[in-house]
Symmetry: C2
Amino acid sequence: MRRMTARPANAHQARLLKLLRDGGPRSRAQLGDRVDLSRSKLAVEVDRLLETGLVVADGLAASRGGRRSHNVRLAPGLRFLGVDIGATSVDVAVTNAELEVLGHLNQPMDVREGPVAVFEQVLAMAAKLRASGLAEGYDGAGIGVPGPVRFPEGVPVAPPIMPGWDGFPVREALSQELGCPVMVDNDVNLMAMGEQHAGVARSVGDFLCIKIGTGIGCGIVVGGEVHRGTTGSAGDIGHIQAVPDGRPCACGNRGCLEAHFSGAALARDALEAAQQGLSPELATRLEANGRLTAVDVAAAAAAGDPTSLGLIRQGGTRTGQVIAGLVSFFNPGLVVIGGGVTGLGHTLLAAIRTQVYRQSLPLATGNLPIVLGELGPKAGVIGAARLISDHLFSPA
Amino acid sequence: MRRMTARPANAHQARLLKLLRDGGPRSRAQLGDRVDLSRSKLAVEVDRLLETGLVVADGLAASRGGRRSHNVRLAPGLRFLGVDIGATSVDVAVTNAELEVLGHLNQPMDVREGPVAVFEQVLAMAAKLRASGLAEGYDGAGIGVPGPVRFPEGVPVAPPIMPGWDGFPVREALSQELGCPVMVDNDVNLMAMGEQHAGVARSVGDFLCIKIGTGIGCGIVVGGEVHRGTTGSAGDIGHIQAVPDGRPCACGNRGCLEAHFSGAALARDALEAAQQGLSPELATRLEANGRLTAVDVAAAAAAGDPTSLGLIRQGGTRTGQVIAGLVSFFNPGLVVIGGGVTGLGHTLLAAIRTQVYRQSLPLATGNLPIVLGELGPKAGVIGAARLISDHLFSPA
DNA sequence: CCCACTTTGTCCTCTCCCTGGAAAAAGTGG
DNA sequence: CCACTTTTTCCAGGGAGAGGACAAAGTGGG
């Protein structure tokens, strides 16, 4: 099947495509309610989109009291690939043009194996999704990587946890392999875009999206747009000092947030507690699996283990301290917490909230919701699909 | 004299006005080089601006090898009023349409005396500038206040250091008194706009502007636009925790940056040092003036007083700690340090730089200049003029 | 001083886009 | 079956803008 080649010819068409993407199929009249164009102009632009094949007719709409109108929708065969490369696993999903996830695969994988090995895996997963009949091909792909990205070129720069990736032409290489346009971004930014598109952050202009996984990062959305910073490293909050003269961190400093709380730090603290006999619950789990992860701590906490609860609370407090500073600085309308450790759930959330509300000024926190992301592991892939669709649905 | 009533009718005219404001008088042809309009269209829009009186002819331009062209410039009679209300003093300046400062007054005044008293003073100063022949009237005024502002309405909200101002309709009231449009913003945001317009931050899209005066605040510029936050309190970094379990702060918490370093904190530390006999230099000054301020510390440090130097270095280190966190988070292209304590100069700057470069990741700091603002007390008033001119030079 | 060439400013036409009205098409409900 | 509503198409007219032609003004060399 020939894939999408057309792009909107002007801003009006781009606007219409995005309306159809975000609101689903609808009639010309309904589109007209939202775009401030004359009926004739609207009809012309819709006709042109129909000609390009990006948009197709979709039956009759419900009557609003008069003549029923003909619906239009985005081409049902359009497929976007969303790829979320984490430190320890890869998520790949197919979406339709409305960014609904049609199929989603997850595979454990160490990002340190390098771009070549990882992309082999990603391509295999993409092929598998295609083979299962969900897609005949891909019209575009969004890729998230766990480190800073020089956004315009789609190239990772100086990524601390993925050394082999520095300067690897991710966008170029994947575009070649997949035969479609590709955009690359930091995984946290994509999570933010995902929650903005389909999660808790709909209709919020300025918000922060904190992702706590193997490391800690923060997506920053200003006026509806992701802020990436001058060198693409904005949101890199894992190495903000949380504890003066605290634990040494891989980055060379001491007391970094990430050294005190993150998936990796939590696992290490749990191991220590188990070995010191502080927590029978964790000790049992260590014996059973031979190792401990954040998931074990979550389970132990759920079972009421006080040591695990304490670890989570302490981590939440430290994270909350840092977030409090960011809230004072940035004054967001919403803070979303997500990532691998959301399994820690409300214990973590409560600790973070307590600390933020205590430490930030009332004006900034007065009406500030701090909530868990609602998309879980889908946030990243939906954000990735959104990234590429934003690109393709913009005038060339 | 009748003041400016016209506003640009469309985005093209707005663009032209801003070019003339920022680049000074120039010919139609030179304007054409920068706006991507056909010559005929450009001529039409310039003619319309000439009709409104916002723009006037200004003689012949130098030849570029052919026919000499006629220059145009913004109306030479346009006057903006820039007002910068600080915690302990008020700056008022008149500018022309190009935002050049034609006259500038400064008056000590305690903002806690309340809006009525302060505005009486401001109006007197504005009248004095007018009386000295610098202006026949004002076409617009920008006002900066030392606290959060609900920007669209131009009303201070919950300002910690200026209790009487909460909810006072600053914009409304001053607009009435001055008989011209008024815009209100936080003083730090205006300082950032000033440095962006005429100072060190020209041509930088994302930067932070730290103002250290009686308190500490931070202007945030993202993509050339000031970020004000959801409730107008963005940049309120004075109450970020710098020292865990540190000094009690007026806000109710402990260890706030402002409690440890600011004009007020520095004066208090200096007093303590003088009384404990740690610094003969400061003790002498205390005896001479009956009190100590940041200026005394600066002078003592310049004279080599080790205690004063130590205070400045320690303050710089703490400020640097906080800035390091903000740099990791925001990844700016520039950090500007300004405000009353810039008199502390390079000792302070060196301490801040050391701390930021040590604590933030190389990718974010690699090419990050940290510099003193170059406009001093003029930054605020220029920023204020810029604020109102941006407003008036936009389509209504 | 004349001439070739460059730059600038003006004029004019042609095209395209869009608005807004009119009318036709398609439904709803009594 | 009829009055009314909503949607869609069609059409004429106005307006804005691009772009070319040409006039005006200036430079520099012969």
